[in-house]
């Protein structure tokens, strides 16, 4: 999981930087107070380092465990019940570690002050992070809306589909009527879903099925399509057009040949996750930019589920394979 790994590394680096910074500031502050004497200074410095470490460890624990897991996670009562005993126990251990047994009240006060400051900084940082994520998401969404109208259902796809329908009607074949209904559903999905944040997964699937029906008409017998789906909860909501770009990409690149070819697609949903798998043959001499078509959807996935999706895109011999897993259906 590259996204998660990056997040963890960022967190460790940030924590270390703040910690080192605090130690340096404490030392500089103490330099001004302590006048002279080698041994005394050493003892003093050791004490300052210990104090800073213990205070900082508490702030990190409070922010990462108590605030993140309880307070911000809808467990406010647990937080209220736990924070007081936690600070009391920690203060007692703190003064014991510092060897200043009679300073319990002072230790509690200083811990409280630093906890308030630390939490304020942490919450402010979380807020800023969320805002910037939110703006990026809404900008992307706007981009997507425009794209959907412009390229997702691109005019060539539309005109080719109309041409195929026309070919049936010209021969008085009533299958043309079925195709007209399918095309109406396709267009309606694009027009209506682009306004929504989430849609039932079954809607996205039937959109994909309609799309495949038209690709079949366009490509004729040289194209074989294996489409498998298994939905445990068809009503479960997901953001629109999360799966479709991978299908479109498979057809775009998989069909660029005069030989017969196969495109494999499977969509599986269970209580824990959604999994999309596509496999198509790739023709290196013709298509050079297979992955560029997917950059937009990759960015969208990262913003929507930074830690709960995995996307594996690879070229294996003459095959191009996409394996996407979205965990917990977060929406």
């Amino acid at each position: 999981m590259p996204v998660m790994k990056r997040k963890t590394t960022n967190f460790i680096i940030r924590t270390l930087a703040v910690y080192v910074g605090l130690i340096v500031i404490s030392f500089l502050y103490d330099f001004a107070l302590v006048e002279s004497g080698g041994n005394v200074q050493y003892v003093k410095f050791y004490g300052v380092a210990k104090w800073t470490t213990l205070t900082y460890a508490w702030i990190v624990f409070h922010n990462k465990v108590l605030v993140t897991q309880l307070l911000l996670n809808g467990k406010k009562i647990y937080y209220a019940l736990l924070v007081v005993p936690a600070i009391a126990i920690y203060a007692w251990l703190f003064q014991y570690a510092m060897g200043e047994v009679d300073m319990y009240r002072g230790t509690i006060t200083s811990l409280l002050v630093f906890t308030i400051i630390g939490t304020a900084i942490y919450l402010a940082w979380l807020y800023i992070d969320e805002r910037s994520n939110f703006f990026q998401l809404s900008a992307l969404k706007r981009e997507l809306e425009i794209q959907q109208l412009k390229t997702q259902l691109n005019p060539h796809f539309l005109f080719n589909s109309l041409n195929n329908i026309y070919s049936y009607n010209l021969k008085n074949d009533t299958y043309g009527n079925d195709l007209i209904l399918k095309l109406s559903q396709l267009v309606r999905f694009i027009v209506e879903s682009s306004k929504l944040d989430a849609i039932p997964i079954k809607d996205e699937i039937s959109f994909i099925e309609n799309y495949i029906a038209f690709e079949k008409e366009r490509l004729g017998t040289r194209c074989e399509i294996k489409f498998v789906k298994d939905l445990s909860d068809p009503e479960r909501r997901i953001p629109p057009l999360i799966l479709f770009p991978f299908i479109e990409n498979a057809f775009k690149h998989g069909s660029n040949t005069i030989r017969n070819f196969l495109i494999e697609i499977s969509i599986d949903q269970d209580a824990k996750q959604i999994r999309l798998f596509t496999k198509n043959v790739i023709y290196p001499s013709v298509s050079t930019s297979t992955k560029t078509g997917l950059t937009n959807i990759q960015r969208r996935l990262e913003l929507l589920w930074p830690a709960s999706h995995t996307l594996d895109i690879k070229t294996k011999g003459e095959y191009f394979i996409v394996d996407l897993v979205i965990q917990g259906h977060a929406n």
Partner: protein, 228 residues
């Protein structure tokens, strides 16, 4: 003379429409339908085609690449779902540019342009021979019997081994019809069969007992291309 046509389009359903339209126009005669440019190119090696209905976006070899592969380009009508290739199609002298889905009326209009152009020509080419309009009749003359063409104002004289024909055509019309590897223009009024040339002098080309003049502006061209 029916116009020999072929279809090149990677979408099978497009063939159904075009074949239906072609059948309705008696002047057209379908010689083949192809789903890609490569098999179409093979077909052209052994068949004579006057008009191609050509799609642009196709796998592996697109329509324009296909046109660049051709030595002798027949009339081209482009039929595509895209509108952005219209400008480029002019560079390939396409007769018309049709956007899918195409109505029969629009299709007919494009085909009529080709019919008019073909009617203006004095004849047409088939493998190893030329079909020429002579006295309102079509005469088939094999290339290997032709010695040379001589222009006489609005008429052109075809001098073969045993006969002479007169057809209403200009030197340009005939030159455009003939394959360059077999015939060469040596003068404003003369086109000769390369294989009949016995001798090339500074100012004349000798075929049997006849000496034909080389035009001033054609001297360098004749020297360079006959020497090969």
């Amino acid at each position: 003379m029916r116009i020999r046509v072929m279809i090149i389009d990677d979408e099978p359903r497009s063939h159904i429409i075009l074949e239906d339209y072609i059948e309705r126009i008696p002047e057209l005669q379908l010689t083949g339908s192809f789903l890609n440019a490569i098999s179409a190119h093979e077909h052209l090696k052994t068949n004579n085609v006057d008009l191609i209905f050509l799609d642009i976006t196709m796998p592996e070899v697109d329509g324009f690449s296909f046109l660049r592969m051709l030595d002798h380009q027949p009339h081209i009508i482009i039929i595509t779902a895209h509108s952005e290739f219209a400008l480029e199609s002019y560079e390939y002298n396409a007769v018309d540019y049709l956007k899918k889905p195409v109505s029969f009326e629009r299709f007919t209009k494009a085909v009529n342009k080709v019919i008019q152009q073909v009617d203006h020509l004095p004849g047409r080419l088939t493998t190893g021979q030329i079909e020429l309009k002579i006295d309102r009749e079509i005469k088939t003359i094999p290339f290997n019997t032709i010695r040379y063409f001589q222009s006489l104002g609005n008429y052109i004289k075809v001098i073969t081994e045993h006969q002479t024909y007169l057809s209403q055509a200009t030197t340009q019309d005939i030159e455009r019809l003939l394959p360059r590897e077999l015939f060469i223009r040596i003068h404003k009024s003369y086109i000769v069969n390369r294989s009949k040339i016995e001798k090339v002098n500074e100012d004349t080309v000798t075929i049997g007992t006849i000496h034909l003049p080389i035009g001033k502006t054609f001297k360098k061209y004749v020297r360079d291309s006959v020497a090969k």
